[in-house]
């Protein structure tokens, strides 16, 4: 701990106030997540005895998880979400890299008008009803592709990536061209190896968006067996009348509901620390260029 020369060590009162404020902030974020995990791992009797939630599971059980991972609705929804997330992120990444690279090169035919047309869609995003019409006309209704194709490229991610590609020194690409490299080789051998940070950030953004998407499944799918985890979770936890949660009598599925919440959150919490060091950079590149 070194304070800058101009700043003396702050008084104990100020330091205590800061410590309290930070602790409160951290607890506000972590405590709700913690009780959800604890409740999901508690036995039904404990949950009922305590009125619907626990802070520490007295009798630890993974019964709730065993129940929902035993091939039912939630299992299938998790598989759907995983599939949509993996395939969607891969497709999105390929398309975003391709378009961003093309738009980052000077003197690409039609580059500027295309960029303007894309930025316009940022200003005037497609409405819910017209987009629904497009999904229906293109025959995507009730197919998993309806959760991927309409969201293939995110303009923000595109702009971030294009900005990053433009910051790569042109001399490097020039040198590669002199060595006889084509555009694809240049992209693969020169640009991408230098862009690991931005690729990590953009993949994270895409993956999280695909994993969290739930509303579109409600309007694009008739077939509820195709629902991803978010949509199922909505029905389990927040659907319909029990949103008020007025009743103090909570039946056994409370632990089950919380287990669904945990399973829907877990993948994000798991990949998050791996990519965290990159995303401040990613966000700022985008903010400066956009």
């Amino acid at each position: 701990m070194t304070y800058p020369a101009w700043q003396g060590r702050p008084g104990p009162g100020l330091r205590a106030a800061k410590a309290v404020a930070l602790t409160v902030v951290v607890l506000l974020v972590l405590f709700p997540l913690w009780t959800v995990v604890a409740t999901s791992l508690a036995s039904p009797q404990d949950v009922i005895a305590n009125g619907g939630w626990v802070i520490w599971p007295e009798r630890f059980t993974i019964g709730a998880y065993a129940e929902i991972l035993d091939g039912g609705v939630v299992t299938r929804a998790l598989l759907v979400s995983a599939g949509v997330t993996v395939v969607g992120t891969a497709l999105s990444l390929v398309c975003t890299v391709g378009l961003a690279y093309a738009l980052s090169r000077p003197r690409v035919y039609g580059g500027r008008p295309i960029m303007l047309l894309i930025l316009f869609t940022f200003l005037f995003p497609p409405g819910m009803i017209p987009l629904f019409l497009v999904v229906r006309t293109t025959g995507l209704f009730d197919t998993y592709a309806a959760l991927v194709l309409p969201f293939l490229i995110n303009v923000f991610n595109l702009v971030v990536m294009r900005g990053f590609f433009q910051s790569i020194p042109a001399e490097l690409l020039e040198a590669a061209r002199i060595d006889g490299a084509g555009e694809l080789t240049m992209l693969w051998r020169v640009v991408l190896p230098l862009s690991k940070a931005v690729l990590a950030v953009v993949s994270l953004f895409y993956a999280v968006a695909y994993w969290n998407r739930f509303f579109e499944a409600i309007i694009y799918f008739n077939d509820q067996t195709k629902w991803p985890i978010g949509t199922v979770l909505r029905q389990y936890v927040t659907g319909g009348a029990d949103l008020t949660g007025e009743s103090a009598v909570v039946s056994a599925p409370q632990a089950t509901q919380m287990a669904v919440v945990v399973l829907a959150t877990a993948p994000i919490v798991c990949i998050y620390p791996l990519l965290q060091r990159y995303f401040v950079k990613g966000v700022l590149t985008g903010a400066v260029k956009a």
Partner: protein, 285 residues
């Protein structure tokens, strides 16, 4: 490049074309081509529809609450984080507060229910202390503060990133000079820190005003039923329920188009203002 351009053509410009729905009395089994062209009738209907104006009023009130309460929150948190000298603590707190940004609204709503619901954690504590109970979830009177609180919980930490970057740009020499002149903590904040990050704050404020009507959709979609449309309906949910629950697609598309056009006008005006103030705005001139 080609698939990317194709994507924008189909899903953005195709959808733009889909806005003609707003001018027809759309009957799904007839399809777009055979539905009756009604001109501006959907818009006329909209202007005389009290439910539409109710949605507009709710949207404006929620947007105003977001502006007053959500906008300054990340700035305050960023100032607190910036004042930390030890980088381990700072990094830990940052990791924690960025996390909720990545959770979906379903999870956030579920967490709030779990904490603040009738049988939730907070009411459990209050009951233990014999303090009665709070009815926050599903209560129309507390709905608007609740949704703003949810937004702060989810996005406040993430929004600090840009303020922290701005704070780190403030020249240390200014602080040294201020201290030599005998400025205390409060005067340094007021005369050095805040003026130093003013451009960023102004820019973000202008951007926020430009998207004033974008209060969010999923959050309101999830919770509207519990409080009823009178309190819970915003423009986006109005479009959804008119279109998908009542089957009035043409009318819903008209309301959506209306909101989109107002949105473009607001962004345009906001940029004008930003340029006038000598800031950059979302796009360059």
């Amino acid at each position: 490049m080609a698939p990317g351009v194709l994507y924008f053509l189909v899903f953005h410009y195709g959808a733009l074309f889909g806005n003609v729905l707003a001018f027809v009395d759309y009957v799904p089994f007839l399809g777009l081509a055979d539905s009756q062209w009604v001109g501006l009738a959907n818009f006329q209907h909209m202007l005389g529809d009290p439910q539409f104006w109710n949605a507009v009023a709710n949207t404006v009130v929620i947007a105003a609450l977001q502006l007053v309460f959500f906008f300054p929150a990340p700035l305050a948190l960023a100032l607190l984080l910036h004042s930390l000298v030890g980088s381990t603590v700072k990094r830990f707190v940052q990791s924690v507060v960025y996390l909720p940004h990545f959770l979906s609204w379903v999870i956030v709503v579920a967490l709030f229910q779990h904490m603040l619901g009738g049988a939730g954690v907070v009411n459990g504590w209050l009951g233990d202390l014999d303090l009665g109970a709070i009815h926050v979830i599903g209560n129309p009177d507390t709905y608007k503060p609740l949704v703003v609180a949810q937004l702060i919980w989810k996005e406040c930490g993430w929004a600090t990133i840009i303020f922290l970057a701005a704070l780190s740009q403030v020249d240390d020499q200014l602080y040294e000079a201020a201290v030599l002149d005998g400025a205390g903590w409060w005067r340094r904040l007021w005369h050095v820190t805040l003026p130093g990050i003013r451009p960023v704050v102004v820019l973000l404020l202008v951007l926020r005003l430009g998207e004033f009507l974008q209060v969010g959709f999923e959050q309101f979609f999830l919770q509207r039923q519990a409080v009823g449309p009178e309190t819970g309906e915003v423009l986006d949910t109005f479009v959804y329920f008119t279109g998908f629950a009542n089957g009035e697609f043409g009318y819903a598309a008209a309301a959506g188009l209306f909101k989109g056009l107002i949105g473009v006008a607001l962004v345009y005006t906001a940029n004008k203002v930003a340029h006038r103030l000598g800031e950059q705005g979302v796009y360059q001139r």
